[in-house]
Symmetry: C2
Subunit: 524 residues, 2 copies
């Protein structure tokens, strides 16, 4: 054994955090996090951890919206700042369990007593990605689980396709998830679903459930239309950190997840990530890696590579959690910082035949997060060669790729799970939630608002108004884009794509070639 070798083992032992329950290992030994950087980070990190403690205690951290940040209470209700909040968390969990049990036992059923066996989720972003992750991670394990179908967009063809697959909606439970009820994609998905129910002569309300803020527009609809039940969203839980609220737990339970185990796993990681000892604090170490790798400006992307098919959606889940939290124009003092941390990935070893070529040989603009799962399969192992199983290849590709990246100077973090179970996934979710919170403290951005999403809604509303004006300006004889734009008091550059869209859907008639200078548009 050479000196270099023993050095690597020593590095492993001293840059490794092991959780007992769930058994999760975090290996930072290939993360290029030198002792000097850890020592240098001590001061700022203790300030960040103190801020996280204040969050836990109920500080108003989302200043824009004047809200507390309480997703950590969801798995440790005793931390919540008031008994009322504590009670609400505890009671909601019990209600969710009872509801799922009622559905499984057929006590909560569609009109006529039909047992629910499908779940249509109307939700987007934080109201859908968590459920999709849980559904994929735990699918096929509980025979009582409902079959999941997600409407996470306002694409009419996409919606038609999902309903085409479902066929009869008689045994379909619909879950509408929207904090305000005002998210257009979710509202449109709900309206389309209600239309599909009506087309089959079914009543929507008795097969629908909502998760929303008390008193919201959606809450009012749920009451008016006689929804089966309404579960709460609280203003102290943000969408992208709502997976341990009803938003994740209710569909999770209906998909067969053990929600108490999921919460316990998250709580365990939270607890470990409150440690003031940096080297034993997984979230702090992760945040430190992010800062070192990206120089505190996100200069390197995080590539998430779980070597397990069930975790293929983890990167998309983390992409939202990280990028929506950290991608901010202003720091908390109002200075323009244009922060962010890009996240992408899919699954290994599949991606080794896609973009890993660039990771290995190309631009050094990323660091990797590997997720290994030790247990290969439930059934008997299968040797594809003497002494070598299908799963050995999977882990071999993971370790081999990690070693090759290390050899070419690319950093990585490795998270090793015993199995893809509720406790482990809860722990991973909490790890990244807290790492995001800590990193945001380090780089001084508000991780809890999303001004760009609101701005996006406004920009779309403007397009819709413009479309209405153009539709009104259409004549029988037809006018050019510039003429219509002048009539609608708009820029013709903005009008051309809208007119093309109207024409393609039979709501205007295009006369002439598709050329913005010459084509004319008339009433359909």
């Amino acid at each position: 054994m050479t000196q270099k070798h023993s050095h690597r083992f020593a590095d492993l032992c001293s840059h490794r955090i092991q959780l007992d329950d769930p058994p999760v290992e975090l290996d930072f030994s290939l993360a290029q996090l030198h002792d000097s950087a850890i020592a240098a980070g001590e001061g700022s990190m203790q300030i960040a951890l103190a801020a996280m403690n204040r969050l836990d205690a109920g500080a108003v951290a989302n200043l824009d919206e004047g809200r507390m940040v309480g997703h950590y209470w969801l798995r440790a209700p005793y931390l919540a700042p008031t008994p009322a909040i504590q009670d609400e968390i505890v009671a909601t969990i019990a209600r969710i369990e009872a509801f799922a049990q009622g559905v499984f036992e057929g006590r909560i059923a569609a009109p006529g007593g039909t047992r629910f066996d499908r779940l249509v989720l109307c939700g987007i972003g934080g109201s859908a990605l968590g459920t999709m992750l849980l559904g994929d991670a735990f699918s096929g394990r509980d025979a009582r689980a409902l079959l999941l179908c997600v409407l996470d967009n306002t694409d009419p063809d996409g919606i038609d396709r999902e309903f085409g697959k479902l066929g009869s909606l008689r045994s379909t439970l619909v879950l509408v998830v929207s904090k305000s009820g005002g998210t257009p994609e979710t509202r449109n998905g709900m309206l389309e679903t209600r239309r599909a129910f009506a087309a089959q002569g079914l009543e929507f309300g008795p097969q629908a459930v909502a998760i929303t803020t008390s008193g919201s527009a959606l809450d009012a609809i749920a009451k008016r239309e006689g929804f089966l039940d309404v579960f709460p969203m609280w203003d102290w839980v943000g969408g992208r950190t709502s997976i341990t609220s009803a938003v994740g737990l209710l569909p999770g339970a209906l998909l067969g997840m053990d929600l108490r185990a999921f919460l316990a796993g998250a709580a365990a990681m939270d607890a470990q990530s409150r440690s003031p000892e940096l080297r034993q604090n997984p979230a702090a170490m992760l945040a430190l890696v992010w800062r070192e790798q990206g120089k505190g400006r996100g200069e390197r992307a995080m590539v998430v590579l779980p070597y397990k098919d069930r975790l293929a959606l983890l990167s998309r889940y983390l992409q939202q959690l990280v990028m929506e939290s950290l991608g901010k124009k202003l720091d908390r003092a109002g200075r323009e910082v244009f922060q962010g941390l890009s996240v992408f990935g899919n699954k290994g070893s599949t991606d080794q035949h896609a973009y890993v070529q660039q990771l290995r040989d190309g631009r050094h603009d990323f660091f990797a997060t590997f997720v290994r799962v030790l247990r290969d399969r439930e059934g008997t192992a299968f040797e594809v060669e003497p002494g070598v199983t299908t799963g050995d290849y999977l882990d071999g590709f993971c370790l081999g790729t990690r070693a090759a990246l290390h050899d070419s100077g690319r950093a990585s973090v490795t998270i090793t799970l015993e199995a893809v179970d509720e406790r482990s996934l809860g722990a991973i979710v909490a790890l990244f939630e807290r790492a995001v919170g800590i990193y945001a403290e380090l780089v001084d951005v508000n991780a809890y608002h999303q001004p760009g999403v609101e701005a996006g809604k406004k920009a779309a509303a403007l397009v819709l108004t413009r479309q209405q004006r153009l539709a009104a300006a259409l004549s029988s004889a037809g006018r050019t884009t510039e003429e219509l734009a002048a009539a609608a008091k708009e820029d013709p550059a903005d009008c051309w794509p809208i007119l093309c869209h109207l024409a393609a859907n039979g709501r205007a008639r295009r006369i002439g070639e598709p050329d913005p200078r010459t084509a004319r548009f008339a009433k359909a």
Copy 2:
């Protein structure tokens, strides 16, 4: 109308390329491609286009492997340099059509005459992503189409899950796609599939088809086991550009795609992208945007945002095509350049509730590629508000987000399709294939090899050898990681994760806590 307004419309008209058939519009007016940059690019671009012409004529461009680059011939066989190649292309297309027709009509069927209605694809990377894209884009349109199930990994649990969903394999056609037959993930997927067939008392060969190089290991297996048929892969077609070869066409046809239309769409874009007039050459313009945005070094990522559920896999497809082609350590002169161009994305408007917050407000390290689809749905439009449909919202979000990015100085390209049909998707695929080829010429890298993928296989093989040595060194009493490493002549840092994996799968027994310093491992 202000001066600024008319300027924007003039920009649109002069930075816009319209294909007639298929009707595809490429809008470069928001790509920040100034006239001066187009003029300055003229010289290098003409050299690049000349090199593309040499490719078309049969030049050996993949120097590492001494191979021609012929994927453009697949949709224009008359371009192929020899009559033999021309004939092979034409004959293979006819064979594919006949095979799919035979399957649909039940003439080609499982033993006992069972009509095939499911398709299991064993393939990875270029042998799977194209089919997944086609399957998703065209699903639900042809009642005769087979149901697709993809085994694109060597994850035993993932494979179990797919077979669990399939149930009986009696009506399952298996397609094994591997150029050499030596790709371990694909081989393992095939072996697992054969095992699943055997477990159901079914013979594998009579339900299997291969796509592989004549004389490969897989070809030999197919002959030995009596596969239904074997379709060719040619050494002049790379995996990531094989979607217009049998690799994409055969499964595409079985999934209900009109393959002639797909080829025609690709051919039309190829033809347009041979234009020496830059402003009318879509692929050249796109390559120029890439160079301008990333300073010829890939400094900005390409975010691909199709506003259509059916195109959600486009970004993953392009991620492989672009990153595996351009992510290279050396240029063609052998200099270290660490090139690349990162690609990620999923779909709009869904992603507006995920990472678009960062795109709008955060780091300026990307440019966007929007894909719009004008036709909303097959059936009747649904107004969610008076005069406003579900699809209007989708297009409104697309145009609104594009405008907002433009306002904050972020560049974008917009590709507008009439519909998601075979011709349009063929055109898009060809557009990016040629843009990659042209860009590689501009930055002087070999776009047609993938040395890092080979290196990845070698690194994994090393791990498997190490595992065998460690398994052999296990004793009944148990030894520490360091003791086992010494016995196997390995670094203990490399041994610890392998020992944990063996222990988790009952092939070693861990004694003591999971601590690399103290845990001991014994024979199971």
